[in-house]
Structure formats: structure tokens, C-alpha cells
Symmetry: C2
DNA sequence: ATATCATATGAGTAGTTACTCATATGTATC
DNA sequence: GATACATATGAGTAACTACTCATATGATAT
């Protein structure tokens, strides 16, 4: 059995990558095909597939096949609320975090 | 200037480590000295200091000196709310995430 | 000023991670 | 079946990260 903190750390590790977070943002409003993600992010096909595999393994995203296309979407859409919350406390004016993170 | 996603990714990267998350938990209720953190986590002095440096640099924690002791606390206590939220959606019964994260 | 306790730091290393390349698989169309 | 499009995968590599060791700094008391 895996503890709470360990689970949390794993999720954070998965989300702690610029490209992966970008993908999460792209599919947050609606599910998207891999090609759509490629176009939206500007990443290479292989790189997108690489990160999707990580996101899939961590069950952050789920897939649904439709003909030749595979649609990716967030397993739990409320993840976006949390991202917004965190983004908010980071960007709050006067926050100690702000200055350091600027560089 | 650093974008929103980049900032978020950095915070996630910092929190995406078991030991670091443990430290954050330990100081979440009240500020603690390094020695207290060492005892609470069972980590070595050097390892605790190593991780505290990372947390400090990312401004996740702040310090206050009191005589020979240095007290560490969360820069933004509402971070804990977010950790709890995330932990909740991860552990929600029936969540797709649950099974994978168990191993 | 020396000894002791509390904490930080620089350097080295083993393990991990992000990325790319080449290739494979799956689906649809001809 | 051959071709074209959509996506995944295995292997290799360079860069990064967590950790340890030895040592340094800072504060207090004697």
C-alpha cells in the first residue's frame, strides 16, 4: 500500500514539467486528439506521445478511440480548479513567491 | 518574464518529491526548527538541509531566526488547502487514479 | 578563545528523466 | 494487399536531481 504523501508526490512529479502541464492545459476545456495537441503545443509528435504516456500511466488523463483518432481528456476535470487555485496563490500580488519565480 | 505555466511547473517540481512533501507537511501546522524537522521525518541533517534549500529557493517556505534556531514555515499557508484538495481527488473512491497509484 | 550545538554549503556520484531517432502498430481508403 | 494517415514504442543519450560526505558558518555558554 502506498501512502498519501507518496501518491501526492507522484502526481506533483508528473505535473512538474512544462510540456506536460501545457498538454494538461490544452485538453482541460475539451478532449483533444494527439494531432490537435501537437498543433496547439508546437511539440513534435514523438515528444507529445512520450509525455502522454507519462500522463496516462499516472492516470491524469484518459483516452477514447474514435476511428483513427485518439481523444485525450482529463481523468478528473476538477484538477483544473486546483491548478487555478495554485496559480492564484503563486501570482497573488505581494506574495513572497512572486519575485523569485519571475526569474 | 516567466509565464504562468512555467511558474506552476516549477512549484510542482519542487513539491514532487516525497521527502520535500514530508517536510511541507511537518511545518504545515506550525513553524518548526531544522532539528524538529529532522526528528519528525527521520531524515539526516544534511538531507533535510538539502531539501530546505530547494524549498527556500522556490519560496515555498520562509525562515525566521530565533537565537541559534531557525524556524521554517510555509510562505503561503493556503498551500495546504490545495494539497488537501488534490489529495482528495486522488483518493476519491472509484477514481481512475486510485488503482494505478496504489502500486 | 574554545567548545558545543544548530544549521548551511561545495563537491562528487549514482540514479533518474526528458528528449530524439528509428521503427512499429492500428485504422481507413483505394 | 498497398498506401496513407494517426499514434505508440524501444533504445540510446545528455542533462538533471537526490543523496552523501566532509567541512564551514553562526550562535551561545564557559
Amino acid at each position: 500500500m502506498v501512502g498519501r504523501i507518496e501518491k501526492l508526490a507522484k502526481i506533483f512529479k508528473v505535473l512538474g514539467d512544462y510540456n506536460r502541464l501545457g498538454i494538461v492545459m490544452v485538453i482541460s476545456k475539451a478532449s483533444r486528439t494527439v494531432t490537435e495537441i501537437i498543433n496547439a503545443t508546437g511539440m513534435s509528435q514523438t515528444l507529445v506521445s512520450f509525455h502522454l504516456r507519462v500522463l496516462r500511466k499516472a492516470e491524469v488523463v484518459t483516452t477514447r478511440r474514435e476511428g483513427p483518432f485518439i481523444y485525450y481528456s482529463l481523468t478528473n476535470p476538477s484538477l483544473m480548479d486546483i491548478l487555478n487555485d495554485l496559480s492564484h496563490i503563486i501570482n497573488t500580488a505581494g506574495s513572497e513567491m512572486e519575485k523569485i519565480l519571475e526569474k
